[in-house]
């Protein structure tokens, strides 16, 4: 399914790469200490951090995967956005951000150190750091696979070129570079996806034409509903019951990912004040609400226009839905923009992993446990060196994945199971001030072990579930329960921390000042996190109504 790129498309791509490097050099001028490098000096406005927040998640794997889900499961894919993301993003902004931003922690693991103890901190810091470099490698390999299929670049060329640019702009400009590139990438990827969607809809005769054709496709009418037939998991394309969708996807999986994943939360921590930090995930929720229009619709268009879509290998896999439409519908010019957008999305995904990794490694592993009490310039230098090492490990992972392609799926699935127990530990620790330090460590550890064990037993065929998705719902829910039970048991046997050590960390104990650092204009109603958040939730409900 080779795309026919011409000189114009390559010029568009080259200009983008130059711009990315330019941002790196420009951002470098603003870096004078480690907080500038790792947290953008806590200086960014909310629209920038908000778009970076949604963009850090809008990697190419996500875009191609959601279009694939659209072609495979139909409109039920919107659950990943409207119930599986928006409520968690609003919750993060309104409820959890005051604890994160107000306690001035520099990372998610650091919160665990203050709230619980060093073992809990180190456990989370190490699993997060390892996960980020391995996932960066997975991103890199996925990018190389797509570029090989689309434009015929050998795998190693894509891996080395993309890694070089990410390495260059993060080492130069740190988190500011990563965030600014994410904001730019957000607009470029949309400039590529919107033309695909429009031409696709013209081809099938508009939305009505598309739905008529989907009814006649192998998915049938079920593909056009989101909640109908969810009483039993076997009755709908997604293979999930409403309980699984609401509690598994909407609560445990989604809250686990959006509220404790430092690669996301870091964007909000770089905001310039409490109001901007709280608005970051909520501003991100608005684009998240409408992104399915440019992923799920192209997926459905591919389903009804590409003959034989849905093979397990070769060009006609569901994952190629968007690349196939690019090939069939886009003329040179817009095609260059779309390829640039995809490449940019891969690089932004990887950059989010790398910038999360270098911060956690430096602030949460190197500084507290290995080389404490050095001056700030030492940690800034460490951050740059660690970035290089992280990217090199990512390249290594990408080459290993190229040798054993199944590894990629395993790595992604394995690390997604770490989120649910982490979220459970956080939410209980934030709202139950009696929860003890050791309860934090032991419950996080046992929840993680249970989640990994269920995943491994499923993969080995000892436990069986309806589908991979079903397994992740159940695995996450059981891990969540394990953490809750263990947290209560251990708390009853150990002594709680005195309230003086929990200030600003736990609900009801000396709450953080929400408006002390406000700037002119922050009191406007359209900058109220609660009003903005309620608006996002209301839109999510409204968007469901035509597709029940």
């Amino acid at each position: 399914m080779r795309l026919d790129l011409d000189a114009l498309d390559y010029a568009i791509l080259a200009l983008y790469f130059l711009t990315v490097l330019g941002i790196g050099f420009a951002a470098r001028r603003a870096i004078s200490n480690s907080a500038d490098f790792f947290l953008s000096g806590r200086s960014l406005p909310a629209w920038v951090t908000g778009l970076a927040f949604v963009s850090a998640n809008l990697g190419a794997i996500e875009i191609l995967g959601m279009a694939a889900n659209g072609a495979q499961y139909g409109l039920m894919t919107v659950h990943y956005y409207w119930i599986g993301a928006v409520p968690a993003m609003v919750f993060l902004g309104i409820v959890m951000m005051p604890f994160y931003y107000g306690s001035k922690v520099r990372s998610v693991p650091e919160y665990l150190r203050l709230r619980f103890n060093r073992p809990a901190h180190l456990l989370n810091a190490i699993t997060f750091a390892v996960a980020q470099v391995l996932i960066a490698g997975v991103n890199l390999y996925a990018l190389a696979l797509v570029m090989q299929a689309l434009v015929g670049w050998p795998l190693w060329v894509s891996i080395v070129v993309a890694a070089f640019f990410v390495l260059a702009y993060i080492t130069l400009g740190g988190l500011s570079s990563a965030i600014y590139n994410e904001v730019l990438q957000f607009f470029v990827i949309l400039a590529g996806l919107i033309p695909i969607t429009i031409i696709g809809l013209v081809k099938v005769g508009g939305i009505d034409g598309l739905f008529d054709k989907v009814r006649d496709s192998k998915l049938g009418d079920a593909a056009l509903h989101t909640w109908t037939n969810t009483a039993h998991s076997g009755d709908n394309p997604l293979g999930a019951s409403w309980i699984g969708i609401v509690f598994g996807l909407g609560f445990v999986l989604s809250f686990g990912y959006w509220t404790t994943n430092f690669a996301e939360v870091q964007r909000a921590l770089s905001a310039r004040n409490m109001s901007a930090a709280r608005r970051t995930p909520i501003i991100a929720a608005y684009p998240k609400l409408i992104i399915p229009a440019v992923t799920v619709i192209p997926g459905l268009v591919a389903l009804v226009t590409v003959n034989g879509l849905g093979g397990t290998t070769g060009d006609l896999q569901y994952n190629n839905a968007i690349p196939l439409l690019m090939r069939d519908l886009l003329p040179n010019g817009v095609l260059g923009i779309a390829v640039t957008g995809l490449l940019a999305a891969f690089m932004a995904g990887m950059a989010a992993n790398v910038s999360g990794f270098n911060t956690v490694f430096t602030y949460d592993i190197w500084q507290p446990y290995l080389r404490p009490d050095r001056d700030d310039s030492y940690y800034l230098r460490t951050g740059r060196i660690v970035t290089v090492i992280g990217v090199l490990i990512g390249i290594g992972t990408a080459f290993i994945a190229a040798g054993y392609s199944n590894i990629m799926n395993y790595i992604q699935a394995l690390f997604s199971v770490f989120n649910a127990p982490l979220f459970a530990t956080f939410i209980i620790g934030m709202f139950w001030k009696r929860m003890t330090a050791w309860a934090g460590f032991v419950s996080l550890l046992s929840g993680t072990i249970v989640a990994v064990a269920i995943y491994l037993l499923y993969k080995l065929g000892i436990l069986s579930f309806g589908s991979d998705l079903d397994e992740s719902f159940w695995g996450a829910s059981i891990a969540f329960l394990t953490v809750s039970v263990v947290a209560v048991l251990v708390t009853l046997m150990t002594t709680p921390k005195p309230e003086s050590e929990l200030r600003g960390l736990v609900y009801g104990v000396h709450p953080a000042d929400l408006t002390g650092d406000a700037i002119a204009g922050d009191t406007a109603w359209y900058r109220s996190p609660v009003i903005l958040g309620a608006g996002a939730l209301a839109l999510a409900v409204m968007f469901y109504l035509p597709f029940l």
Binding site: A11, R29, S43, F187, P331, G333, I337
Partner: protein, 88 residues
Amino acid sequence: MADERKAARLFDIRRVIGGLFVVYGLVIGLVGLFDSPEEIAKAQGVRINLWTGIVMLVLGVLFLLWQWWRPLELGHADSPTDDTEPAR
């Protein structure tokens, strides 16, 4: 101060987005003016290069106008504080 302001201006992401989209918009829009019938047919009769070019150009100009209309505040040379309302 002049140096600081220059650094801040360079660091303003609105200028980067605006600049890149203006260039992309002009290039793709111009190419779109001269698209061959086959290319238009491939895009289902939509002059997609022309339209995408126009929309990207407009978006780019809007970003540049926004940046020009609400420049970075002085005294925060390293912090783009653009969506702030003027002090009252």
